[in-house]
C-alpha cells in the first residue's frame, strides 16, 4: 500500500526539522498513537490504537527507526507495528523543501498490512489509509502552528 503526496507546513525546513524529531510532535502525525517515547536518538517506541467503525480492538506496539538523516532536507523511517489484530510494517520518507516562509513536505510511505485486519478489513484499507494520512497531516500542521506561534499559513 503506497501513500504519497505533498503538504505545506509552517516554518522553514531547518526550524521544522528539530520539531519533527520531537516525539511529542511526531506522535501527532500518527492518529491513534497514545504515547511515543524516544528510546534512542533514532528510535521511538509507543502504542497505537486504531478505532474506526467496528474495529476497536486493533492495538499495535509501534517501533520507528529513523535512517539516512540529511538535515534539514530529508530522512527516512522504518515503521513496525505488531498487535493481536495483525501488523503493519514498511518504510516512509520525508523531504522538506523551502516554500516561501514555510516548507513544502513531500511524504511517501510504502506500508504492508497483515494479519486479521488485512484479511477481514481489506475493503476498508484504502479508505482507512487515506483517512489516517489526512488526519495525521492536519494534526501535525496544527501542532507546528501552535509550536511556532506563526501566522496560519
Amino acid at each position: 500500500m503506497i501513500v504519497e503526496g505533498t503538504y505545506p507546513l509552517p516554518g522553514t525546513p531547518d526550524v521544522i526539522w528539530n520539531l519533527l524529531m520531537d516525539p511529542e510532535v511526531l506522535v501527532k502525525a500518527m492518529p491513534g498513537t497514545k504515547e511515543l517515547v524516544r528510546t534512542a536518538p533514532d528510535r521511538y517506541e509507543g502504542v497505537m490504537r486504531i478505532g474506526i467503525g467496528p474495529i476497536t480492538a486493533a492495538e499495535f506496539e509501534l517501533v520507528i527507526l529513523l535512517t539516512d538523516m540529511k538535515e534539514p532536507h530529508s530522512y527516512a523511517m522504518q515503521i513496525d507495528g505488531k498487535g493481536r489484530a495483525g501488523f503493519t510494517r514498511g518504510t516512509a520518507s520525508v523531504e522538506l523543501s523551502p516554500d516561501g516562509a514555510g516548507s513544502m513536505m513531500h511524504y511517501s510511505a510504502d506500508l504492508q498490512v497483515g494479519g486479521k485486519i488485512a484479511a477481514v478489513g481489506q475493503r476498508l484499507l484504502d479508505s482507512v489509509s487515506k483517512l489516517m494520512t489526512r488526519q495525521g497531516l492536519e494534526a501535525l500542521n496544527r501542532e507546528l502552528q501552535s509550536r511556532l506561534g506563526g501566522a496560519a499559513v
Binding site: 474506526i52 467503525g53 467496528p54 474495529i55 476497536t56 480492538a57 486493533a58 493481536r84 489484530a85 486479521k116 485486519i117 477481514v120 478489513g121 481489506q122 475493503r123 476498508l124 484499507l125 484504502d126 479508505s127 482507512v128 487515506k130 483517512l131
Partner: protein
C-alpha cells in the same frame, strides 16, 4: 471465532440506557448487532461493555407524522420497514431499497438506527436518508439534538454522535409534489456490499423542469456522497436523456473520489457511478413525470 468477554446491560427504558452510557463511557450500544457481533466474533472489536437496546419498546416502530412525513424509531427492524404499508406510501425510496440490504435473516435483526450509527460507507440507508433529507434525533442523558442526515455523517464510520449519546429517531419529510425516487446498486451477489449504489430523488416544477435533484452515491468514499455537480447539472432543465447523461458524467468524473479494493478498482467504480446514476435518474424522472401528469418526453 468467539467474542471476548464483556459486561452486559439490558435497560428497559431509554432513560436507563442513556444513564448507563453516560456512566460507562467504555460501553457500546447493541442494536441489531449484525455488524458489531461479526466484528466481535473476529475479535476486531472487543467493547468492555454492551448496552442492549432491544428491550426498549419506545425506540421501535414507524409512525405517520401530521406533515405527511414519517417517523422511524431507531430500533425499528429492517424487516418491519420492508413490510410497512406506511413506508411504502410515504417513503417509496426507502421501501425500494430495503430488499437490497443483506438477506432476510439479517434484516429481521438489523435496525435503521444501528445502520446509520455504524455509518459503513457501503451501507444503503445512510445514502437514502441523505437523499430524503431526513432529520436525525440524537439524545443523551442531558439533552436532545436534531440535525439533518447530511451533517450526521462526518467521515469513515464517523458520525456526530458524542460519547453517551444515542440516535433515537429518524424523521422523513413528506416527498415534494411531482417527485420521483429510484435506487440502483450493483453488488457481486444479491445482498453483498454494493460496489457502487445510487439513491436519487428528483422533483419537477409545474413546467416539468427539474426543481430539485438529490443524488447520493454509496461505496464511493468515506460515507454517503452527495453528487452536487450532478444535481447542479440538472437544475432547471427538463430531465431529458441528454441532461441525465450529462449529470451522470458529473457524478462519475467530479463528485466522487472512489477507493479501490479487491472487488472493484477506482476506475471501475467511476464507470459504475456513471451508469447507475444515469439509470436511477431515468427511472426517477419517469416517476416524477407520472407524479405530475406530464407525458413521457
Amino acid at each position: 471465532m468467539k467474542p471476548a468477554p464483556f459486561v452486559y446491560y439490558c435497560p428497559a427504558s431509554l432513560e436507563e440506557a442513556l444513564e448507563l452510557l453516560a456512566e460507562h463511557e467504555e460501553a457500546k450500544p447493541l442494536a441489531g448487532g449484525q455488524s458489531l457481533i461479526p466484528a466481535m466474533n473476529f475479535r476486531l472489536a472487543a467493547p468492555a461493555a454492551l448496552v442492549d437496546l432491544n428491550r426498549i419498546a419506545a425506540l421501535a416502530g414507524d409512525t405517520g407524522m401530521e406533515n405527511g412525513g414519517l417517523r422511524l424509531g431507531a430500533m425499528t427492524r429492517h424487516s418491519t420497514l420492508e413490510k410497512s404499508r406506511l413506508v411504502a406510501e410515504r417513503a417509496p425510496l426507502l421501501a425500494e431499497t430495503m430488499p437490497f440490504i443483506a438477506h432476510p435473516q439479517i434484516r429481521s435483526r438489523g435496525t435503521v438506527g444501528g445502520s446509520l450509527a455504524h455509518a459503513d460507507p457501503a451501507a444503503e440507508l445512510p445514502a437514502v436518508m441523505v437523499a430524503l433529507q431526513a432529520t436525525l434525533v440524537l439524545q443523551s442523558a442531558k439533552a436532545e439534538r436534531r440535525m439533518p442526515a447530511e451533517q450526521f455523517f462526518s467521515g469513515l464510520f464517523a458520525t456526530a454522535l458524542e460519547p453517551g449519546e444515542l440516535l433515537t429517531a429518524i424523521e422523513l419529510p413528506a416527498l415534494p409534489a411531482r417527485a420521483g425516487c429510484a435506487f440502483e446498486e450493483l453488488a457481486r451477489r444479491h445482498g453483498d456490499y454494493a460496489l457502487v449504489g445510487v439513491a436519487a430523488v428528483l422533483s419537477l416544477d409545474s413546467r416539468g423542469r427539474c426543481e430539485q435533484a438529490r443524488i447520493v452515491l454509496l461505496s464511493v468514499g468515506d460515507g454517503p456522497t452527495l453528487a452536487a455537480g450532478a444535481a447542479a447539472a440538472l437544475a432547471g432543465l427538463e430531465p431529458s436523456a441528454e441532461a441525465i447523461r450529462g449529470a451522470a458524467e458529473h457524478a462519475a468524473a467530479t463528485d466522487i473520489d472512489p477507493p479501490s479494493d479487491i472487488h472493484a478498482s477506482a476506475a471501475y467504480r467511476r464507470q459504475l457511478a456513471r451508469v447507475l446514476t444515469r439509470r436511477a435518474l431515468i427511472r426517477a424522472a419517469e416517476l416524477a413525470r407520472t407524479a405530475s401528469g406530464i407525458a413521457e418526453r
